[in-house]
Amino acid sequence: MKRLLVLVLTLCILSLTVFPAVAQDRPDLLIWADSTRAPALQGLVEQFSEEYGVTAEVQEIAMGDIRSNLPVAGPAGEGPDIVVGAHDWLGEYIQNAAIVPVELGDVAEQFSPSSLGLFTIDGVLYGVPYAVENLAFFRNTDLVPEAPATWDEVFEITAELVDSGTSQFGFVIANNASYDFFPIMTAFGGYVFGRDDAGNFLPGDIGIGSAGTIAAADYIKQFVDAGYLNADINGDAQIALFSTGDAAMTLTGPWWLNRLREAGVPFAISDIPAGPEGPGVPFIGGQGFMVSAFSENQLLAQVFLGEFMATTDAMLALYNVDPRPPAFLPALEAIEETAMAEFQQAGAAGVPLPAIPEMASVWGSWGNALQFVVSGELTPEESYTQAQTQIVELIGAMDAAPTSVGLVGNFQALLGCASDWAPDCENTFMTSNGDDGSYSITTAALPAGDYEAKVAFDGAWDRNFGAGGTAGGDNILFSVPADNTLMVFNFDADNALSISEGSVALVGSVQSALGCPGDWQPECAETEMTPNGDGAFTLTTAALAAGDYEVKVALNDGWAINYGADGARNGDNIAFSVPADGTEVVFTFDATSNVLTVAAGS
């Protein structure tokens, strides 16, 4: 025992002294970068330390760990001052208060505006970009001498090459590479998130199940059906096939350049081909520097980025290890590599890769959807509708119940709203039907005609639902057959909006006297009220015996929508008396004010 104790103790003490000194002084600036960027930064940082006498150090940390560990290490006082990362981390970082805004001052003019845009959220710049990247169309110039201008041409060329046995594959795309599929999607009118006028992404408007996306998947399906693509082409196979000349065309980014040149395959880069909805656009991603909110030396970090990194020399040093089109314009001009300009051209109209946290919910289902199409397990429509549903569910799960459920459409102005399509108009907020999560609203104020409607939560467009309960789905069309028809809008728990003409029934203690099997039965047809054409409904009877009665009005044969005293939804019963047997009683329901009036004897 003793011997062991002594041994273990000695070992411990020994190891503590042998371990590399950790208590080394923390440098003034600590930078976290991944294995690609760290070596280049290492050199720059050494140069900086020497030149300015400020200690700086680079720690090489895997990309994913930089992203996830900053909010953990930072608060514990062990985090970096600066991280190098992608612009689509911003949403998550801001949510966790992990980074602070940066100010570039006059230097900002030397950055490409689109790159600054990537790092700007709500008008505030959160990072210093150094590179932008996007996909472009690659072709093997031996097999495809001229760049195809449309996706249809791509298919034709593929068919020709494969059928003639010239090459094993024509155009290839990896089985679940949604990032690569996006440029095709956009050419056919698909999208991921809708955007508002300011260009912000709307997490409620998801286009994975949109007609355009499905059309793009149908396009891919042609390849599969003809045997030009199969389900087992993954990213590895994609590059292998293209670099050996077994595949003639593909979509990829600057990260392939070195390997393709090494492989010696003749290739050229061109713009994304066009589809029925115009040219396809790729995602644009940005790489840049962000300043940690937990850093003690934020000012120094900002000065370092603004005055040392934002120089042509530093940016070129980064470019040399990580050849992606620089965001710093003087550096871009200094580069002789023509491919960079070609990439820039292909991405000129690109869409920023959404930096909202909701994007993380999209990748998995979106990627699987392509795989289902390529494997033939599901039709494009089934596949992408399913993905849409999954994504909506995931994103929905992140948010609380809606604060308001508004009916929106091109009829709102007619109902007293300031404008049409106004999600914040309280006049058209729907009312909960009770515990089942459904909401409804009625109106009898619309003139005859065709209309379009949707439902929007929280008085905003972020979460809106259209046809089939699809988040961000298409508008729902409906017609009002005649002026002042009572229309009932019901929004159920599955987010589906149903619109129907309303029927109005008088319910109450009068019903059994009027031929119904019992009282208080909204489904009884005998007490259905008759529309009189101006938005009112009436029922006249002389069959009541003298006495006191209570009534309400119920819509669409059920209790979900019912009105009582003063037109209040779920209001009190309306009491009235019949003075003598056989007195004529007239019940009038005004579908605009929802008030039921009872006139007994005239």
Binding site: F19, P20, P39, A76, A237, I239
Partner: protein, 310 residues
């Protein structure tokens, strides 16, 4: 009984050394055995051959790899990857190897020593809650570790504030986590072995007046060398191959373990240096195989020799 006789009497020896017990289907058994061994080797080594080929393949991509390296214009090309490992100033390969050997070595020594103590106690002593304790330590390790990553990271961060040698980016912190993670299973593994050592050995020594520690160190410890070797080897290779924990806990390139260093060659889209990775991985396997070669005599012929002597 002489120890050499014992050594040769294993069940496998019976199957193999059929001349001792000739039988009619002797030939058939032998043939089956040979076929089995060949199939086994093919299964075990085919992927390895693939790794070896990749390590000599100058093109960095796994996907374009062929069994016989292509684009080889000179002998030098074959060693492109190894050259990169050994001579690239950005790749402190030997430093990483040193780090790894140190970390894995120290980890496995401590695990063997500490776990053997506990295993002995659990095997030999009878005390209250012994069973519960045994079950308890087993249950603790049932917890899916991947979900406790944040807790572990935070713990190392916080510990490092007060005990710098156990903090982030230290060998101490990493070794500590490795030891904690491997303890329970190894105690159980060892206890199973200790149980098979006849009690008569302890008892007779006790009658001779030996203390518990004496019995443990002088009698039992040498007897259980096979399991010590197995546990040591398992801990060593387990920690040598780990990169999930090491990657998170060691942040300086200089202090990386070999696996973290190698992982940086395939991490990310840009650094697909598959060949370098394969070369490094092969080299990483050498210490483990060497250790196995060294420990093999303990593992395969250590225990019985002494066990029955008493």
């Amino acid at each position: 009984m002489s120890s050499s006789a014992v050594q040769s009497r294993t069940i496998a020896a019976q199957i193999g050394q059929s001349e001792k017990r000739p039988s009619s289907n002797d030939w058939l058994l032998k043939a089956i055995r040979v076929v089995f061994i060949v199939a086994l080797l093919l299964f075990a080594l085919f992927p390895i051959i693939w790794v070896i080929s990749a390590s000599f393949n100058p093109s960095g991509s796994m996907s374009s790899q062929t069994l016989i390296p292509q684009n080889v214009e000179s002998i030098g090309d074959l060693f492109t990857n190894y050259n990169r490992l050994f001579n690239d100033p950005q790749v402190p390969f030997w430093r990483w190897v040193g780090n790894s050997l140190f970390i894995s070595g120290l980890t496995s020594i401590i695990i063997v020593l500490v776990a053997a103590l506990s295993a002995y106690a659990f095997s030999r002593f009878r005390f209250r809650f012994r069973r519960n304790l045994l079950l308890g330590i087993f249950l603790v390790q049932v917890f899916p570790n991947i979900l406790a990553m944040v807790a572990i990271y935070l713990m190392v961060l916080q510990l490092g504030k007060y005990v710098p040698a156990l903090g982030l980016n230290t060998y101490g912190g990493l070794i500590m986590i490795y030891i904690g993670g491997g303890m329970a299973l190894n105690i159980w593994l060892m206890k199973g072995f200790f149980d098979t050592v006849p009690r008569e050995i302890d008892e007779s020594a006790m009658v001779d007046g030996a203390s518990t520690s004496q019995i443990y160190w002088q009698l039992i410890f040498p007897l259980v060398r096979p399991v010590l070797a197995v546990v040591g080897l398992l801990s060593f290779s387990g920690t040598l191959g780990d990169f999930l924990l090491a990657r998170v806990l060691i942040t300086d390139r200089e202090n990386w373990t070999l696996m973290v260093g190698l992982y940086s060659f395939v991490e990310g889209r840009f650094s697909d240096d598959w060949g370098v990775f394969a070369a490094g991985a092969l080299l990483a396997a050498i210490p483990i195989v060497a250790l196995y070669l060294f420990l093999q005599r303990y593992i395969v012929s250590g225990l019985t020799a002494g066990a029955v002597k008493g």
